[in-house]
Amino acid sequence: MEAIEYKCPNCDADLKFDPESQKLSCEFCLSSFTEDELKKINEAYGETTPTEAEIQTQNEFEEHTNLYHCASCGAQIMCDDQQTALFCYYCHNPVILSGKLTGDYKPSKLIPFKFTKDRALETFRNWVQKKTFLPDDFKSEQQLDKLTGLYVPFWIADCNVKADFTAVGKNNRSWTSGNYRYTETKEYNVVRRGNITVNGIPADGESKIEDLLMESIEPFNYDELQPFSMTYLTGFFADKYDVDKAQVFPRIKSRASQAGKKVVRDSIGSYSSLAVSSEQYNILKTDWEYMMLPVWFMTYNYNNKIYEFAINGQTGKLAGTPPLDKAKLRMFCTALGIGITAAIYLLGGLLFG
């Protein structure tokens, strides 16, 4: 008898039979399906076979991509065989060539770098200029040299979200008559149901880089997506993903639900109060695409903490947590406190002396 392996339509993880529910369940996204449901879904969103051109690109990827390994932080960097990676983009320690990559790591698409390094540096300098309590060496040229052009692996998800929302909305109106304050309350049953489509939610497949950091430099303009070609890697590094789509699905699910919630909440008029009785956002179907997105990336080690900075290589949007020189800040606040104390004291002396 032939063993049939079912994949989750949401996150592509292997489905397992759950004796309790008598359904096939996904342990990553907690979805469950009957065999009939799965067949219907697979029929509706039928599998496609790779084209000949795609197979050729995959072979090119395997032959011309070198993989480097950082012994210090464990990062795995790939670049084309025309250049040599010397230092890790993350911890700045030397990296060593560890071999070739298999075609599984080849992304289907990529957004090429549009924001040059000079512009990225200018954006970074402008951002730094507005911060006063940064460590001195954070602004040094040596630190700025660490800004690296990096193609970050991303899982991009298109989701269909089923929204089901019910609540009791209240509107109040008040007036005064004689010695009494009257309040009229009108109650409404608020219902919103429907299907919400969310396209292109990205989730990075690199565990070293903070998820929030990558989410903060969004959105990317997918209109500029190009089929993957090794030529785009020239002069940049690329990261090998170490988080698969099953692992990023909870993030995608959460963000898709947030998007659905926004649509629902935006459709509700202004009530004085809203008591939600039920609110559910269920992901019906997820389509995945693995691609690489351009990011100017830099890290800074301060007081044994790594601060990460990223600039969207397409739009120039910057994100990061500025390192705070607490000693500088403490000195400033002490001086300010003394100044205010002295000013009030002297003013008090003038007024009451």
């Binding site: 200029q129 009229e184 300010l336």
Partner: protein, 307 residues
């Protein structure tokens, strides 16, 4: 500009702090106190009531004692035995202060004790202090009066010469006793009428219109509290500004063309009215008026006491 502020603020703070230190520690107040000129002959017992008319020796002895204590305590001491009750509390105080100023000079160190021997049902004794005596005795007036009450009969009864003599001697003892108990480091007396401050600074007794550092202690503490709170708020608000900013709202990925709310209803359920009685707040209050002051004289402390 913002960056320059972070340099300017500490510089201004340092200048202001320097001014405070100068004001508190280095600035020398203008001392208008005249001190004691060493002439103990101004110290005496004035027998206006004539209680020692038949006993000149006792009066001489008391006068000698007044001079002795004057030399010892380095201040003028006048005891005025008043025979005719013609003043109320306020004018008695004024009389004592004026009498002292006329005989010993304004803002000199000294004390005047008026003993009421007029025989009225509620005799009014009074002590007027000047110069360092203000600081030495102001807080101890009740104790001094209370001690003198042990030697003087209560209202309506005639005071005998020996009772008056013992009371005067007790007065000398009392002022000697409290002279030895030097006032505390931050002890200050403020005469609101003449707006003069009486205090010690660096071992020197000062009478001045300049507020002493100790009088500003409360202002300094309040200022320091406000300064500290402002510094803490600034610290945490700047620290907050160095936190990570929010990530992109996933709402930007919604495809509005493909999304559809199949059910979108707001159905009226019910309405109801509640009422609440408005509480009326009525407040009452009164006025309190203060008395007037004596102007043109030296700075005086003191007070009156009914036996």
């Amino acid at each position: 500009m913002k960056k320059k502020l972070f340099v300017i603020i500490p510089v201004i703070s340092l200048i202001l702090a320097g001014l405070v230190v100068y004001n508190l520690v280095l600035k020398k107040p203008k001392n208008i106190g005249k001190g004691f000129d060493g002439d103990s002959s101004k110290s005496c017992v004035i027998d206006d009531a004539g209680i020692f008319d038949d006993d000149e020796d006792t009066l001489d002895k008391l006068n000698e004692l007044a001079e002795d204590y004057s030399e010892k305590l380095e201040m003028n001491i006048i005891v005025y035995l008043n025979g005719i009750y013609k003043y109320n509390e306020k004018s008695t105080e004024d009389f004592c202060a004026d009498y002292y100023d006329a005989n010993c000079g304004k803002d000199t160190d000294g004390i005047l004790y008026l003993m009421d021997l007029s025989g009225v049902s509620s005799p009014l004794d009074c002590i007027s202090t000047s110069g360092k005596a203000v600081l030495l005795y102001q807080k101890n007036l009740d104790a001094i009066f209370s001690s003198l009450d042990n030697y003087l009969p209560s209202g309506g009864e005639e005071v005998q010469p020996d009772e008056a003599e013992r009371a005067v001697i007790e007065f000398f003892r009392q002022i000697e006793k409290y002279e030895k108990k030097k006032p505390g480091l931050f002890s200050t007396y403020h005469d609101k009428v003449t707006d003069k401050y009486f205090y010690y600074k660096g071992g020197e007794f000062i009478v001045s219109k300049d507020r002493p550092a100790s009088a500003n202690l409360l202002v300094l503490l309040i200022s320091a509290a406000i300064g500290t709170v402002a510094a803490i708020i600034t610290y945490f608000s700047i620290k907050k500004a160095y936190k990570f900013k929010n990530s992109t709202n996933p709402g930007v990925y919604v495809s509005h063309e493909e999304s559809r709310l199949t059910e979108q209803s707001d159905t009226f359920i019910r309405s109801y009215v509640t009422k609440r009685k408005i509480e009326s707040n009525s407040s009452g209050g009164g006025m309190r008026s203060g008395g007037g002051g004596r102007s043109g004289g030296g700075g005086h402390g003191g007070g009156c006491h009914r036996r």
